[in-house]
Amino acid sequence: MSQASASARASQAVATVGTPVPAPQHARRPAATPITEDVPRLLTQWQTIAVTACVLFGILGAMFQLLAWQASGRAADNTEQLVRLQQVQSSLFRADALATNAFLTGGLEQAEQRQEYDAAIDEVLRGIANAAEAQPADRDVLADLNTTVAAYVAGITQARDNNRQGFPIGAQYLRAAGAVLRADAGPMLEALVAANTQRAEDEMDGQNTLPLFLTGLAAVAVLWWVNRQVARRFRRRFNVGIAVAAIAIAVVTLVGLVASVNKSGDNDDLRAGSLRLAIAESSARASANDAKASESGRLIARGSGATTEPLWEAHARDVEDNASRETLPLWQTYAALHDEIVAQDDEGDWNAAVQLATSTDPGSSSEALAAFDQASQAVVTDAATTTTDSLRSGGILAVLLTIVTLLVGLGAAGAATWGVTQRRKEYS
């Protein structure tokens, strides 16, 4: 474009906007339409609007992407906390199952069983400490849980001490400790698990797909509007700088949306897959150990199986509903052995029932439950690791997209400035 022709068009533009053509008498003039326009000032305003839109897009778009990435990280943290708490729950019921079962063998309990109980309690206490450090929002409940576990352990210690002396009060301490575990610790752990499940799921929903889309759309809409205003005054459809800014924003928004939608889809898959598996298997593991404690409890409350068996059956239903394909057969093996124990007890052969319930030989009920417990723990660990690894994956892409979005926003602001500046030069 030659300078002469540009100058001629500029003169024409001045004539157009600077000297308004009188409107026909019958036409109603819009009340808001100025009679005269200060084009340089308008250009400055449009430029400010366009630059603001671009910069805001850069900042907000980058922020939404950064927040989405952080949400994925927090979802992973919450998942780890969830699994940690379920581990505490499972270990606590495992400890109770061992303590209750050991009681059936009299004061001289098996050393291995006692060591396993100590290890389970150790896991519980470490798990509570780690969980309290990991999530401040859980600390108050975990402090209460810690107190409850301490009371439980003290009760079991008193039970054991009295049992070793042959005093029946030992059984009473055992019953009281078990009651504390279920009445106090149980609801606390359930609340903690529910809260962290909700947090993990909420964070998985935090991919900010819609805010990113709306931010990009708003920025493009503003640029379109500015372009339209400029085009009206300068009789050219597109301002190159503004168009480039709009296209760049549209492209980066589109890329961000694709990444966000993909991540959301992955998170949905996790929720329906490995996360659900980890939660369900943990629940199955806790219920299985609680069932074993119930089995021992029915034998301690000798001959009262008819009243205690429904408790075992309730736990069994929970295991069957939640155990994975890998662990369900192991549970069924244990359940079949439990049926034999029940049959012996119902037949009145309590000693045989106790022998079956307390034996740790291969093929015994305790060994079958231990096999389920170990397999279940492995499934939980694998599923939890899969979940957290997936949530933490794509970090580099998320950071790159964040930086690119910010740079594109700033670059678009520069392009819009350049584009409007060209018109200002023409006008001058």
């Binding site: 004061g107 029946p168 606390m188």
Partner: protein, 331 residues
């Protein structure tokens, strides 16, 4: 409009905080309050009401002679039990000396269990042909009424109210209610607490659904009564400092005191008479007569005396004799 640098820095700080901190601040986890559990009413009071048809609640049915094992009328409760192959008895498993689980052997043993063995021996010729079902004090009547057990041998006091729902054998032991206290309340350094009246303002525990609870409420209305599911539950409360005293039958208190060197049963007069009987379903009068025959045999062959000497004499003192039975009740 110019933005002052300080405002700009503050704004950037807020934005940076929002971005870097994310939205990781969560509401504190809250444990929902436990659902209101409908509390079951306490076990029916066992107030020894005035006997309607007999002034002596220990009066039982006239015994029948104990024949050879298995030699019963074809239609009889004993024949049904014989056909089943075992006697089912409702017992305690934590009443030391009367019926408690021996952790070393895994067997429930004690004076009450000896009674079960005598009945099993009479029916089957085998003292071990029985199945024990552990029941609480509150379950003693319902276990019989619902025919979950053949007999209840669980330090159960014979009284008229219970006669209205079940039947009893003749009295097999005469116990009495006493109080157990902390050793510092019986060491003579201060006032010795050895009567119900002296329990005023002290916390005293008795199991729910027992005549002991009703008796102590009447005898010591100013005491703070605390309940537990059984006497061993009372002992755990005692060891935790939640109660100062426990009340119950002297046999039970002797067992509790054996388990805790700081629990003492001071020398005292029993403030109630607690005649123990073997509980039987009200419809099984033939079994009551049979058991009374067994008790008579125990008196004759000295097995009651032997059981007493083995289990109760070391703590309650020797010289006790089997209570004299009162017969003549009619169905």
């Amino acid at each position: 409009m110019s933005i002052r640098p300080r405002s700009r820095v503050a704004g950037l700080t807020v934005l940076a905080g929002l971005v870097l901190g994310g939205c990781g601040g969560y509401d504190d986890t809250v444990v929902p309050p436990p659902e209101a559990v409908e509390t079951t009413p306490a076990a029916p009071a066992t107030t020894p009401a005035v006997c309607v048809d007999d002034t002596n609640p220990t009066r039982s049915y006239t015994p029948i002679a104990v024949a050879a094992p298995g030699d019963f009328p074809s239609i009889s409760t004993m024949a049904e039990i014989y056909d089943r192959g075992r006697l089912i008895a409702g017992v305690s498993a934590d009443t030391y000396l009367l019926a408690s689980n021996n952790p070393f052997t895994g067997q429930i043993e004690g004076f009450d269990i000896d009674m079960v063995e005598q009945v099993a021996e009479a029916i089957f010729g085998d003292p071990k042909a029985y199945e024990l079902r552990v029941i609480t004090a509150g379950e003693r009547l319902t276990a019989l009424q619902e025919e979950r057990v053949d007999v209840v041998v669980r330090n159960m006091t014979i009284n008229c109210v219970r006669w209205q729902s079940i039947a009893f054998s003749a009295e097999y032991y005469r116990s009495g209610q006493k109080i157990l206290v902390r050793s510092d309340l019986a060491d003579g350094q201060g006032p010795v607490v050895d009567t119900p009246a002296e329990l005023a303002d002290l916390r005293v525990c008795a199991p729910t659904g027992t005549s002991s609870l009703d008796n102590i409420k009447r005898a010591s209305p100013e005491a703070e009564i605390v309940t537990a599911s059984n006497h061993t539950g009372c002992l755990t409360l005692f060891q935790q400092g939640a109660v100062d005293a426990i009340t119950g039958d002297d046999t039970v208190l002797a067992g509790l005191a054996t388990q805790d060197p700081y629990a003492v049963v001071p020398e005292q007069e029993a403030f109630s008479a607690e005649p123990y009987g073997i509980g039987v379903n009200a419809g099984n009068v033939d079994l009551v007569r049979f058991i009374n025959g067994v008790l008579e045999r125990m008196r004759a062959d000295g097995s009651w005396k032997a059981s007493y000497e083995k289990w109760l004499a070391p703590t309650l003192g020797g010289g006790a004799t089997q209570p004299q039975p009162v017969y003549g009740r009619t169905p």
